[in-house]
């Protein structure tokens, strides 16, 4: 529900701020298409909001969490919460027609939930079954559904239209959602949403250092984050599609003399 409300707020913001205009110069228009950010004026405002939320709310919480825990403990928390999301990954593996990964991830869930002491230890990882996390955004990408424009979501950060829809769909694809919904015990419902809340803090704590490093050296942090997100997302999707690393599609095998023929 929470996530749907965010989407509603987002669509209101969308109507308020509108779009950037398409440049008329051909090489500028090409650059405009490449960044895929027609909603930049709105996105920058949400980004500024997120930076304020980071400073006054998210960071103090994450730093507090960091202060009272050790690196090893936080890894166990992430492993435990990651394990709870593994059934959702298995469903997405199946939807991506990747039965091999579905088998691996299902085995991971069973092994870690039992031998791994309810998912606190990644025993399966040590047995050579690497962790893998899939959401419906990636599944849609595997189905060749285009990403749509780049979006910055309030609190959640960089995304795009397809992946935002994926976030909403994942709530309903997660088997634990139905376990919580159909259980009359309030404690079970309560723990489902608590896990999501703790998960948000744990994920945020884990990304603070990366954000700080970027902020330290970037001249335009917004553009820096957009580029990082888009490149990393492309890699995740290539991996899910099973594209071999020798494939020309690799985003990083560009020619270094590219600027010479950019505006032909």
């Amino acid at each position: 529900m929470k996530k749907i409300r965010i989407l509603l707020i987002l669509s209101c913001l969308f109507l308020t701020f509108g779009c950037a205009s398409v440049p008329t110069d051909p090489s500028e228009a090409a650059a405009y298409r490449e960044t895929n950010d027609p909603l930049e004026p709105m996105n920058r405002k949400i980004f500024a909001f997120n930076m304020a939320a980071d400073k006054y709310a998210l960071r103090p919480i994450a730093k507090g969490y960091r202060a009272v825990t050790t690196d090893g403990f936080r890894l166990k928390v992430r492993t435990f919460l990651g394990n709870l999301k593994t059934p959702l990954t298995v469903i997405n593996d199946v939807l991506q027609f990747n039965l091999k990964n579905a088998g691996i991830d299902l085995s991971r869930f069973v092994i870690n939930s039992t031998l791994g002491f309810f998912g606190v230890y990644d025993v399966a990882g040590r047995m050579g079954l690497p962790s893998n996390s899939q959401g419906f955004g990636t599944t849609m990408a595997v189905w060749n559904i285009p990403s749509g424009p780049y979006l910055v979501l309030p609190f959640l950060g960089p995304s795009n239209v397809r992946d935002t829809a994926g976030i909403a769909a994942d709530v309903f694809l997660d088997p634990f959602y139905y376990v919580a919904r159909n259980n009359n015990n309030q404690d079970v419902k309560w723990s489902f949403w608590t896990a999501d809340g703790v998960s948000a803090i744990a994920t945020y704590e884990n990304s603070i250092d990366l954000l700080d490093e970027g902020k330290k050296s970037a001249l335009d942090f917004y553009a820096f984050m957009r580029s990082m997100y888009q490149q990393h997302r492309k890699k995740t999707i290539e991996r899910a599609k099973g594209v071999q690393s020798s494939d020309k599609e690799n985003s990083y095998e560009f020619s270094l003399d590219e600027e010479d023929d950019a505006d032909e």
């Binding site: 890894l75 990651g82 050296s217 690393s245 020798s246 270094l256 600027e259």
Partner: protein, 209 residues
């Protein structure tokens, strides 16, 4: 006959070394560069300024700074005059050196050892460059980090062209960010250079925590 012997000798002495670079050489290049940085920049107990100095020497030797700087300007490189380009190139090199020394310093005395970086594979791309895939394995993290070294060959020597960490190319990131700035300021490279210089001052002498 003489001519043919001459051609043969020419081939042996000149032509052969020019094609001698192989993926395995690129792997060795990446390995020795990683070891060099870990031994001389990451691990020793030195001041940040001293580390910056050491890393600068290592870095300037292994990269082709002019080509890289030009690339990061994208289509704006053509409009730059040589002086502007030179000033920008110097500021960019400083930015990379200070940024990375600061990151390496964060790992000082800790988990980033030679053993943490494992070279996995290498290949030559259609664009002529080598791509060496390595993994960085740090404790208390879930997954190994994939880092790919893009290595160019020019006249028989190897140069580091790019680093790609989990799909994110350093060169492309700089280019995307800086061309976004240039697009907003009407292609003013001098202004971008000034922004960089200001940033570099802060990176060079970071405030004590």
């Amino acid at each position: 006959m003489k001519k043919r012997i001459f051609t043969f000798l020419y081939f042996i002495f000149f032509a052969f070394p020019a094609v001698a670079m192989e993926a395995v050489d690129a792997e060795k290049f990446a390995r020795s560069l990683a070891d060099d940085i870990i031994t001389n920049v990451v691990q020793p107990k030195l001041t940040l300024q001293k580390k910056q100095e050491i890393f600068r020497k290592i870095f300037m030797k292994v990269i082709n700074v002019k080509t890289n700087a030009r690339f990061t300007l994208g289509r704006y490189a053509k409009t730059a005059d040589p002086d502007q380009l030179k000033a920008y190139t110097d500021a960019l090199a400083d930015n990379i050196i200070y940024t990375w020394t600061d990151r390496f310093n964060g790992y000082a005395g800790g988990s980033l050892t030679k053993d943490a970086i494992i070279i996995k594979s290498s290949r030559r791309s259609e664009n002529g460059d080598f791509y060496v895939t390595s993994e960085i394995n740090l404790p208390d993290t879930e997954n190994d980090i994939e880092m790919i070294w893009r290595i160019s060959e020019k006249k028989g020597t190897l140069k580091l062209a790019d680093l790609i960490v989990e799909g994110v190319s350093m060169l492309m990131s700089y280019r995307n960010e800086y061309t976004a700035i240039l697009q907003q300021n009407g292609g003013n490279i001098a202004a971008l250079t000034e922004m960089l210089k200001k940033k570099n001052e802060a990176l060079k002498n970071p405030a004590k925590k």
